[in-house]
């Protein structure tokens, strides 16, 4: 009964006709033929109007536009593509193991990419790579390019030198990557955007030095990723520059998650014992790590910044609201992804053929998680 009623409504109000083809009912969409007929022109002319050809007189143009509107016609994308148009779709490949998925940053990056594309009238097909070493997963990624589902792809969270990305570049596909090094062989179809992580980390250390800290530890992020490597190098370089020792026990490792920061710090505190010499300040490879580390410190009865100073990286949306408000190095993800998307699309639309590699500066944001030593 319900179903019958449903079907009934369907037949009456639907903007499609049912056509008997063999033994199947096939839904026919409005196509350019019908628009042409209604407007009294040929399909060629309809196409010219849709594609904004200059040699269509205003009069004709208006007739066609009217017919398009009247029939609620939208050109079939597959047919357009088959005839040589682009898909106007960008693949977004986000490497994200389980825990990271809950990170606010992931969301922000996804949304930034989607909106940047949307502003340029492009669509985004998102694919989550849970395990970049899984053969099947990588094959799915490659497939999206080869099938021509997408005009290009943006990769986030890959290792600094992921081989399958290199492959795609070699095949001539247009690829934008965040947080990867630009390999020696530079080609215009590989666009690279990074932050100046070293410089950012150096700012953090400079600030701590200014506050009188000399015993500084670091909680690293994923050192398979370029930013993980660079931040650590910035730290080493700044410490070395100042003639300060880097204590091996004060170099903590993990990935870029809150949980990793928590565990690394908890582990360190247990291992080091209460009367060991401990850093007076920690720099974390990102804010999530800093949150986790602060949680572990608090659980051990150590207050930030009273007992120990902590500085983050990213300026996560929650950093300002954190207790204590987190001193951190701000990084402009939105701008970066906007520019990266714009460069990728320029390459797709053949507006440029330059090798593109950009690096964005970061800026220290002072809040209340560090204290001056006296």
């Amino acid at each position: 009964m319900l179903t019958t009623k449903g079907s009934d409504v369907y037949d009456k109000n639907v903007n499609t006709r049912l056509l008997k083809v063999g033994f199947n009912l096939k839904k026919m969409e409005i196509n350019s033929n019908e628009v042409a007929r209604l407007a009294g022109v040929s399909r060629s002319t309809v196409s010219r109007v849709i594609n904004n050809y200059s040699n269509v007189p205003l009069k004709t143009r208006e007739k066609v536009l009217k017919a398009i509107k009247e029939l609620n016609y939208f050109p079939n994308v597959s047919a357009q593509m088959l005839a040589g148009k682009k898909s106007r779709t960008i693949g977004l490949f986000m490497v994200s193991s389980g825990e990271i998925a809950v990170d606010v940053l992931t969301n922000m990056m996804i949304v930034s990419v989607i909106e940047s594309a949307s502003d340029l009238n492009y669509y985004v097909l998102t694919y989550i790579i849970r395990d970049a070493s899984d053969e099947g997963t990588i094959n799915n990624v490659r497939e999206m390019f080869y099938q021509r589902r997408i005009d290009g792809g943006i990769f986030i969270g890959t290792k600094h030198d992921e081989a399958f990305v290199d492959d795609l570049v070699k095949q001539g596909f247009i690829v934008g990557v965040f947080d990867q090094e630009h390999p020696a062989e530079r080609v215009p179809n590989r666009i690279v955007a990074n932050f100046n992580n070293e410089s950012g980390m150096k700012q953090a250390i400079a600030y701590l030095l200014g506050l009188g800290h000399r015993d500084i530890g670091i909680i690293n992020g994923d050192r398979q990723r370029l930013s993980g490597i660079e931040k650590y190098e910035g730290f080493l370089s700044a410490m070395r520059q100042q003639g300060l020792p880097v204590h091996e026990q004060w170099v903590l490792n993990g990935d870029f998650s809150e949980q990793a920061g928590y565990e690394a710090m908890q582990h360190y505190l247990r291992r080091s014992g209460a009367d060991a010499a401990r850093p007076t300040a920690w720099v974390a490879a990102n804010d999530s790590i800093a949150f986790g580390a602060i949680r572990a410190l608090r659980e051990a009865g150590l207050l930030v910044p009273e007992h120990v100073s902590v500085i983050g990286f990213d300026d996560h949306v929650l950093s300002e609201k954190h207790n204590p408000p987190l001193t951190t190095v701000r990084v402009d993800f939105k701008q970066l992804f906007k520019d990266l998307m714009q460069m990728v699309i320029a390459q797709i639309e053949e507006q440029s053929d330059a090798v593109k590699e950009v690096a964005y500066d970061c800026t220290l944001i002072i809040r209340q998680s560090c204290r001056r030593l006296d």
Copy 2:
């Protein structure tokens, strides 16, 4: 020089040939003709292998498969679609005004939808709707359906009775919605998934009653959305059932964000004055609101749960780690989106023609943000 080198590398390693067409260089992909030639069969047979037709002898099948592998061939999706195949792409339409975008929930929902699709070998095209009342935005949404970019769409965060969604359903497109009421006219191409918000809210109130609370306030979410409406109704119904009064001043309004919770509570505290009769417990329409409210309470010197009890909704990933750990009503987004996706795809693949409406139960999770009154 660099560019020259780039081009050189390109020509040598690339799996494409350059073909002179008029004055343009056109890249030619491997197509089924070349596979057919290499395998010594016709394109028909290649297609039959790709589409797993049963009437291809193993021998032939293997020859073709070998050629496909050798040429690294992937069928062109546009051609397949034009010949009648589906796009295997689902549109994800996420209504999200600026502030909400930073919410962890948004991320979780997006990722849940994408992964559910991925498990079924489908792709997701995500579109962010910043303003559902904007004509241009809605036209973009409709366009995606009419252009046949997607086989169906899932809507999250729409108003409970959004008209353009109804329109799409009426046009026969397959639509899955979360948090919308199923209108009187039920059709199999509209699939609805909700939580039992009323029952969830009643559990929250029941728990507070058990702790001895009788003066209970509510901080509502967006009441343009079904969940906002239902949670409030659950609250009213539970209070009425118990013969407890609902004080107008104890009904706070906003949207589903942390900021709204913060502002609503801050505003209430200012307005009510310290010696006014205040609720001993608040229920919030979601956890983000609860976080914001707790922040405002703390700033006013009121501790949770010592001075006032607060209960949330959703069981946000941060709720457990919150200080204090938040008592809340847990809701299983992952399961819901997985099932919703599965139902939408079943409809696309014509595996079912039933009217689909499902509602998932919620469960109270007791932590430490509520205290027993004595």
